[in-house]
Symmetry: C2
Subunit: 241 residues, 2 copies
């Protein structure tokens, strides 16, 4: 998937503090985007910023997200509104030998562009398929199909990424040289986001079993591993089609 | 901790879509804020929204966060800049019998106010203590103390919450009545954020053991449980002092 390309860097997306943690290449940015399902989107209405959590996914350099949780925003978006979509993997809390060096390991992406509503009906219907199939490849074909009212009631937003940056800290404890000689305890405390035991709907019809395409969502697995794998599967299918 | 109070509701923080999921009382909002360590803060520079992940904590109706990761913002904040701080607990992915009813269980808070830099030196020094002790109560006293340069190099931001809303979905699969009769598999897939096995710094001095005050951060525990417990411990200590 590596295309060797990078996002342009300017005042908006340049990682200023700790610039050694900054990355702008498509490969790094996209890999982080594709291994999560939850993002936070920022937008502005009358000078007031809003930060809304939502599900999202990527196609090339275009991001999509579910617009229904952002109804305030939708009314303002048809012209395209500046937005920032951020994805964060929290990997650890870092306990150092002084307060200043306490930190966290993390991998985050901030993507900037103009958010717009998907108006084209065919693109919208395809997006509604991928909203589900990006996480659970092949699932839409197993479902009761959406009716016109449902399609109308769901808003899908897209944003072509104009600029983006990834910021990665992955070094655990990093104390000042002289502090390593102090009798103070320090550790890296890993944080994982994992999949729990699936809870089948209590109202399943007799004989209905968990379909094989959900196997990547296995108890105890890292959500990011399942998300990465399902993303690759979902888009390999689409590209062949 | 319940004070019976609520945040005022207006166009900014009213939960419009799925308004049955909205809560405005201090008890609900504060409990969600105190059981997480990572937030996303939105702010605006020259019409461009930014969404930045950072560590944060609450004191009463004031939120604090670490400003160093938002250096762009800091230059603009001394007058107070409109901001939105959002915290999201993703609790499950919900696989329904149609695409439209696919969802997620989550608990989120959006808090609105004006962000400002903590300028008062005594408040700043106390905030730098709580930045660590809010997560690891009593830890700062065990550390090499901060020097003037370190204190100067860290920026702390605060925001008095003017408006806030919590939004909670906690119902798992919720299909249309007639869809329950279809032979389609549906489940709630729980998602947990958990603490991994602590990784002691390889350069610890001989005989330095993990201190007892880190016990809440035990392998396999939910991060939110440890965060909630340590928050209560940290602020009980402060209130007694």
């Amino acid at each position: 998937m590596a295309d060797g390309q990078s996002y342009p860097v300017d005042e908006v997306n340049k990682v200023k503090r700790r610039h050694d943690r900054g990355h702008y290449d498509h490969e790094t940015v996209h890999a982080l985007l594709d291994s999560a399902v939850l993002c936070h989107v920022s937008y502005v209405i009358d000078g007031q910023p809003f930060c809304t959590p939502t599900l999202y996914w990527r196609e090339g350099t275009r991001l999509y997200w579910h617009g229904s949780s952002a109804s305030r925003m939708l009314r303002n978006l048809s012209e395209g509104e500046p937005a920032c979509l951020t994805v964060t993997h929290l990997d650890s809390l870092v306990l150092a030998r002084c307060g200043f060096n306490h930190s966290a390991d993390y991998r985050s992406v901030m993507a900037f562009g103009k958010a717009r509503i998907v108006e084209d009906q065919a693109e919208k219907e395809q997006a509604l398929v991928m909203m589900v199939d990006r996480i659970f490849p092949g699932r839409t074909a197993q479902l009761r199909q959406s009716d016109k009212q449902e399609i109308k009631a769901t808003a899908v937003i897209y944003m072509d990424i104009e600029k983006a940056s990834a910021k990665i800290r992955a070094k655990g404890v990093a104390d000042d040289d002289e502090d390593y000689l102090l009798p103070i305890y320090a550790e890296r405390l890993p944080i994982y986001t994992v999949i729990g035991k699936p809870e089948p709907c209590p109202r399943l019809m007799d004989g209905v079993a968990r379909p094989a395409n959900l196997a990547p969502y296995a108890t105890g697995r890292l959500l990011e591993e399942a998300a990465k794998e399902s993303y690759a599967a979902a888009y390999a299918v689409t590209e062949k089609a």
